[in-house]
Symmetry: C2
Subunit: 346 residues, 2 copies
């Protein structure tokens, strides 16, 4: 495939405007943090790992025009920029991880000139793009071992090339399995309200020539009842120390359906999605998004009568006991997750 989710080019962050897919493949060229924050808020760029990379590049955009060489003022500016970007979306751990990662460069290099620190921040931000691709490749390698010929694999939302700096986490597992010659079928849960499954995953999987089929979110249980689903793999926006996992709304639903039908339920996510400061998922903040996402069809046609109330939580939290294993770039972490995450990631 000939597209890149995120690039840094001629002083701008170049991202695919994912809100336009699959109708149009259009790019946004972002040169300031206000535009970046807006692009993140309206999901022109989304997916936890992609947000991590955008946040790092964003911090650089925010500080690169800082004048002077006063370290204290520079750090104040850095914190202001970081706070501004961090306020774009609350749930995906990678966004904060990315900001902390580049901020630490500034803290660790206090003795250097502000100009040098800026350059180091840019270097770190550029590194993440390659690192994230490498992480995805590793997740793909580990995860592909879980896929057998003739499996039916159900997924939700988009944890693919578009959600990362390339290759994808959940879809990376499928791409790797295909590279290894495995034959399988993918069921894409469309993922209301914004249909990242039907729009984005369907687009990617079709381009990659993978046998895929879109279903309404309501259909997963019936497919499992019919024996068509061998495993479910979902992405993650934040994983707590005990393995509780926040991901796109509907993920917890799928995990319960798997438990009932005795089907393995996997999460695929890089280490950067783990928030080891959280003992459990209870403290994960779930973003509530605007009612219009639910009460309209992609902001076009109104569905419901005027003035109807709506709830629109963007994520849910799946308890670790429902998760068979988490496929990470450091290997597959199997249950009991509340013990094994520590062993591998701490």
């Amino acid at each position: 495939m000939s597209f890149k989710t995120i690039e840094y080019k001629y002083g701008k962050i170049k991202i695919i405007d994912q809100s336009k897919l699959p109708d149009k493949l259009e790019y946004l060229y972002i040169s300031n943090i206000k535009d970046l924050r807006q692009a993140i808020r309206r999901l022109s760029v989304r997916g936890a790992p992609a947000l991590g990379a955008c946040a790092e590049l964003g911090v650089y955009l925010g500080i690169r025009d800082f004048k002077g060489n006063d370290y204290g003022s520079f750090i104040r500016k850095l914190k202001k920029v970081s706070g501004y970007l961090a306020s774009s979306r609350p749930t995906a751990r990678n966004l904060f991880w990315g900001i902390e990662r580049v901020s630490n460069i500034a803290f660790k290099n206090k003795g250097l000139s502000v100009g040098t620190i800026k350059a180091l921040i840019l270097e770190e931000a550029l590194n993440i793009i390659n690192e994230d691709k490498e992480s995805c490749r590793n997740i793909g390698r580990y995860g592909a071992s879980l896929i057998k010929n003739n499996d039916g694999i159900l997924t939700i939302c988009n944890a693919g090339i578009l959600a990362t700096c390339g290759y994808g986490t959940v879809l990376g597992v499928l791409y790797r399995a295909k590279e290894k010659g495995k034959i399988f079928k993918v069921y894409i849960s469309e993922t209301r309200p914004l249909l990242q499954g039907a729009r984005l995953s369907a687009w990617e999987l079709k381009k990659k020539g993978i046998d895929a089929l879109v279903i309404c979110d309501n259909t997963a249980a019936a497919l499992m009842q019919q024996g068509k689903v061998s495993l479910v793999i979902a992405g993650a926006d934040r994983v707590a120390l005990n393995g509780d996992t926040a991901n796109k709304i509907g993920t917890y639903n799928l995990a319960i359906l798997c438990k009932y039908h005795n089907i393995p339920f996997y999460i695929a996510a890089p280490a950067s999605t783990f928030d080891l400061s959280l003992r459990s998922g209870k403290d994960i903040i779930v973003e509530e998004r605007e009612p219009k996402e639910v009460s309209t069809l992609l902001f076009k046609r109104e569905i419901s009568p005027k003035g109807i109330k709506v709830m629109n939580p963007a994520f849910d939290v799946t308890g670790h006991r429902l998760i068979t294993a988490i496929i990470t770039d450091y290997g597959i972490i199997r249950s009991p997750l509340d013990k094994n995450i520590r062993k591998i990631l701490c």
Copy 2:
């Protein structure tokens, strides 16, 4: 509310065109079975009890212009008409029940003139409208006893005034509870692909002044996790002798979520929805509808890349063990359903 779902007026079946709601309240005036079959197929009229009434009136439309007084020819015509209407949709039991009910009038009155039989068929067809309203009132009365103050009630699709000849089954329970002064909150699962929850139930409940809130289908599990759902009530398209129940796709999903969260899961349906000739739900035919319902947003905007494959089963089947009780017009049938349905309905 000042609308009627189905009426027979000046020789025509007058129905609300439900595909236009909630944008417009428009009526269709149907005078032949071809138009009726099309209205049923494209869901201008839907809901199992409403389909029963339409089928009865439809049989009359189909035979009323029969010329002559030859009973044998008349019966052949009746069977042709019945077969044609029966081929509109396969799952809702009431459609077939309605056709059988009026056909039996012809079989039982062999000795009478064809003209008299026609008139008896019309009478029977008109009776059903009142009978169905009465059934709904009974369901409402029985069901309201299950609702307590401050309950959060989740429902799917539309089993309301629009799905019946008036008052509704599931929503009838809520209307009755409100009449009794109970205070509660309703969560409406939007019900992709055609959004009968977000469009039709939201419209009805808002008109009735009931505190209601639309959620994406994916959100039900998270709401239950948060303790917001006290019970789920769903309608039915066909109930087998053992209590296995076909209803709108997503119902089985909700039943599993209820089981996991230890929440009562009720079905509300009149006796006419029971198919006592089926020992279990295994033999219920689930209608697969056209891919466009899923791959577009209400036939307007394409969601997915061109050529993507889609599955679109309109119903699923919930095993009787997941159902706490069925609220019928003959009383509440509690589990074990495979024993108790026989006792009350056979």
